[in-house]
């Protein structure tokens, strides 16, 4: 229904454009230079008045109609249905929706559900007719109103440009809206979590065993939500990744910037960038299928016990993925150091490596530190490699050969299961997400500040 309506609206807008254009020209007997603006602006004015209000109405309707229909169906439902818990009400509404969609039901449906489905179907029909009527009347009303305003000295271009400028401003505000949305949704759900589980247990306790009881008498349902082992797992895997990525990335950047010929750089740099472009799910598959078992067999030949989901396997592969981040950002900073510094050092008799270690790298240090911080932020937020290659058990261990779990793995496992949405178990995922968001935000802000404060301005 909605695609057809949008298509009809598009045609209406095109027609409106043509009508406005023709009207403007007809008022001046075809002499376009007598008009204030070019004829297309008059057409655009009418088209905007025809299309924009209707478009906003359709957008609002498609966002809110499902919720309003649910509310109306619930209002007509018998009192005992309305008195149930919110999860049962959601289930009731879902059954009603499925029946109204014509999905054959698997079990017996109660009379309340059937009545609700009939009502929902009627509401849907009524509301789509209502929408059609409203859109048609608003569109034609807008068209007529705009067309009547057209006169040879009507400043159509100014009006249209003002609307367009406003639209541009709204688009940029959308970026803020997204950030606000993220923060608000995370905080809201995390708030609900912290009303169930005290915040000091979450941040400081050492046992992570997120279970909640489905029934009051369920055994083994006491949950422990101490997230320290989970944070520790993230820290461990991130450190292993940095141990791999920072030396390799820095040395690679130094080599490409200082020693490599232009030809070598021309093909080596893009190849390194390819490492950044490979989807992380491929890295995860590689880590789980190849690196993990190889490490385990390697350890067995030495008599060591390496889990096939060891932190070392996941961390090493994540480190490889992060190499291009460190190397290309560092490369940029190193090449930005002016040659006069290098030549001064050569003039004093230093070798190339001594120049790099004692002159160039210290000069480029703020940028390098910033690139390392950004790489850490990327490693902390990485999901797919650890979901596929790291374990699920939250352990506080310093042994890289054991399996640990990370914040992102826990978020995925808590939400891709089938617990109901309000339980502490699923809300814990939002609390973890909030922590993740704050940590990466801090890392990025610190990286920015480091660059801003310590960057040398060379002439």
């Amino acid at each position: 229904m909605t695609p057809a309506l949008l298509l009809a609206l598009t045609c209406g807008v095109v027609v409106a454009f043509g009508l406005g254009w023709r009207r403007a020209l007809s008022l001046v007997g075809g002499q376009a230079r007598s008009l204030h603006s070019r004829p297309s602006y008059y057409g655009a004015f009418v088209a905007i008045w025809c299309g924009l209000p209707s478009l906003l109405l359709i957008a609002a309707w498609s966002l809110f109609s499902a919720g309003v229909a649910d509310w109306m169906v619930l209002g007509e439902a018998p009192a005992e249905v309305r008195a149930q818990s919110s999860e049962r009400i959601d289930l009731f509404l879902r059954d009603v929706r499925k029946l109204a969609d014509g999905v054959p039901s698997t079990g017996a449906t109660s009379a309340a559900v059937e009545a609700g489905a009939v009502r929902l179907a009627a509401i849907r029909e009524y509301s789509s007719l209502l929408l059609l009527g409203l859109v048609t009347s608003i569109a034609t009303g807008g068209l007529a109103f705009a067309r009547s305003r057209i006169a040879p000295d009507f400043r159509a271009r100014v009006r249209v440009e003002a609307i367009v400028n406003r639209a541009l401003l709204v688009s940029s505000c959308l970026a803020i809206l997204v950030t606000v949305g993220i923060v608000m949704s995370l905080v809201f759900e995390a708030w609900r979590f912290f009303s169930l589980v005290p915040i000091d247990e979450f941040l400081f306790r050492l046992r992570w065993s997120p279970q909640t009881a489905l029934r009051p008498d369920q055994i083994g349902s006491s949950g422990a939500f101490g997230a320290v082992p989970v944070f520790w797992g993230t820290l461990m895997i991130t450190s292993i990744a940095m141990v791999v990525a920072v030396p390799v990335g820095l040395f690679a950047a130094v080599y490409l910037a200082e020693y490599a010929s232009a030809r070598f750089r021309a093909w080596a740099k893009p190849l390194l960038e390819i490492l950044a472009g490979i989807p992380t799910v491929v890295y995860g598959f590689f880590a789980a299928l190849t690196v993990g078992p190889v490490l385990r067999r390697f350890g067995e030949s030495f008599g060591m016990q390496i889990a096939s989901e060891s932190a070392l396997a996941a961390g090493a592969v994540m480190g490889v993925m992060i190499i291009p981040f460190v190397s290309s950002l560092s490369d940029d900073v190193i090449t930005a150091v002016p040659n006069s510094l290098r030549e001064g050092s050569y003039g004093l008799g230093a070798t190339r490596s001594e120049t790099i270690l004692q002159v160039v790298l210290p000069a480029a240090l703020p940028g390098i530190v910033a690139s390392v911080l950004l790489a850490v932020s990327r490693a902390v937020g990485e999901t797919m490699i650890v979901v596929m290659a790291a374990g699920l058990s939250a352990k506080l261990t310093v042994n890289p050969f054991e399996a640990v779990t990370t914040v992102t793995v826990q978020i995925v496992t808590l939400l891709v299961g089938d617990q109901e949405f309000d339980s502490a178990k699923t809300l814990a995922a939002f609390a973890l997400g909030l922590v993740l968001f704050i940590v990466t935000l801090i890392l990025n802000v610190v990286a920015l500040l480091v660059v801003r404060r310590y960057r040398e301005q060379y002439d």
Partner: protein
């Protein structure tokens, strides 16, 4: 003095070697990664089928003598397969042996025979020689992954089953060919029938929604920030926000999509519409940043000349600046889309992780995307799915290579240097 000079020289040579070794290490891992994927995945594009004589006899199908066309679909097609296989090896007796023989052919053969008969009802009563897919274990045998040298209880095919397969091969009834089912079929629990087409269509729909949403809004925001806004605290705030959003982990966007789009707005779960919404929020900062640098690269002389002949500020941007910045904007957008194509984590959060068999037919029907399909198949314990997963990775990498190549070509051909 001389000794110290030589020591410094050796340190220099070592340092340079470390640098080269670092580059070499990174490239080695890249080659290893791609090499193992290609080695494991190449087999996914090749399939083995068995040629059997199928007798579409109405009595075997359990239909009457002259059934109506509507009845044809309800025949017992698995009996057709059983009879055909039994005809090949009439000496096999006993229910267990017969079942082992039947298991050499894929369960999907039953549905393919049914589709054939429904498409051409004249086949009823005829005997036709048809190519049917082999079971995934039999295909693994022909691809060399199951060897008779391994003890019998350590493999999925018994010695007698291997003997039957070899006999069929000697009789020339085993044919191999390009695996079209992999590229045109939807997901399946049977590895030999599993295909990526459903996931590919889902990816296409999701990317289409992402493009439609992020490109206009991103370019509009970039135009506003670059051309029309003055440097107020408000615009600084917007800029800081955009740079921060570019660095937020993708899973947080998935949480946003779950909390806002699914729970608050009640949008359909697993739909490309919601997936596209989430991914467009993710690619918006990339598009804005790339568009801003493309717009900034257009020299001010163009703008001033346009203003000089009487254009309004908006006309300057739309008629002069934007067309010149378009190659850079498109390059940035394509690269953003390529990144969105490979995203998995946020889509897991909004439910695109279900087992979907049908090909999605719209932006609101449940579907999955290619990276999530890879993730699901990687979890399957069956050996044959390793091949499929690697093959799907090759398809995904192929799409990414195409997109990045398009971006590079666009940049090289159309970008002007001022």
């Amino acid at each position: 003095m001389e000794a110290r000079r030589r020591k410094r020289h050796r340190a220099e040579v070592r340092f340079r070697a470390y640098g080269l070794a670092a580059v070499g290490f990174a490239l080695l891992v890249l080659v290893l990664l791609l090499g193992t994927i290609v080695r494991d995945g190449a087999g996914a594009f090749w399939q083995y089928e068995v040629v059997l004589d199928i007798d579409f006899a109405p009595e075997v199908l359990g239909l009457g003598q002259d059934p109506a066309e509507a009845e044809l679909g309800r025949g017992d097609f698995s009996r057709l397969v059983k009879e055909a296989v039994r005809k090949e090896f009439p000496e096999v007796k006993g229910r267990r042996d017969r079942r082992a023989l039947r298991k050499l052919v894929s369960p999907g053969a039953v549905f393919e025979l049914r589709d054939r008969l429904l498409a051409d009802p004249a086949l009823l009563g005829q005997t036709v020689s048809l190519r049917l897919p082999l079971d995934d274990q039999a295909q693994l045998f022909f691809k060399g992954f199951i060897s008779a040298a391994v003890p019998e209880d350590a493999r999925k095919l018994s010695d007698t089953q291997l003997g039957w397969l070899e006999t069929l091969q000697e009789r020339g009834q085993i044919v191999s060919g390009f695996n079209t089912r992999f590229l045109t079929g939807g997901d399946s629990r049977e590895p030999e029938l599993a295909g990526i087409w459903g996931a590919a269509v889902g990816s296409l729909l999701t990317l289409a929604v992402t493009l439609v949403l992020s490109f206009p809004i991103g370019v509009a925001a970039a135009v506003y920030l670059e051309e029309f806004s003055s440097r107020t605290r408000f615009t600084d705030f917007i800029e800081v926000n955009i740079n921060n959003l570019a660095a937020v982990p993708s899973i947080v966007f998935g949480l946003l999509g779950l909390a806002v789009f699914l729970n608050f707005f009640g949008m359909p779960r697993s739909a490309p519409l919601v997936g596209g919404l989430v991914l467009s929020l993710m690619t918006l900062p990339t598009v804005i940043i790339a568009s801003r640098s493309a717009l900034a690269a257009v020299p001010p002389s163009i703008r001033e000349a346009a203003l000089g002949v009487g254009a309004s500020p908006l006309q300057v941007v739309v008629h002069h600046v934007l067309p010149l910045a378009l190659p850079g904007i498109l390059t940035g957008t394509i690269i953003g889309m390529a990144r969105a194509l490979g995203e998995t984590a946020p889509l897991l959060m909004i439910g695109m992780v279900a087992f979907i068999v049908d090909i999605p037919d719209g932006v609101t029907s449940p579907s999955t995307v290619l990276p999530v399909q890879i993730y699901l198949w990687a979890d399957s314990p069956e050996r044959a799915f390793v091949e499929k997963t690697s093959g799907a990775i090759l398809v995904l990498l192929g799409f990414l290579v195409l997109m990045n190549l398009a971006a590079v070509l666009l940049r090289n051909r159309f970008e002007s240097r001022w």
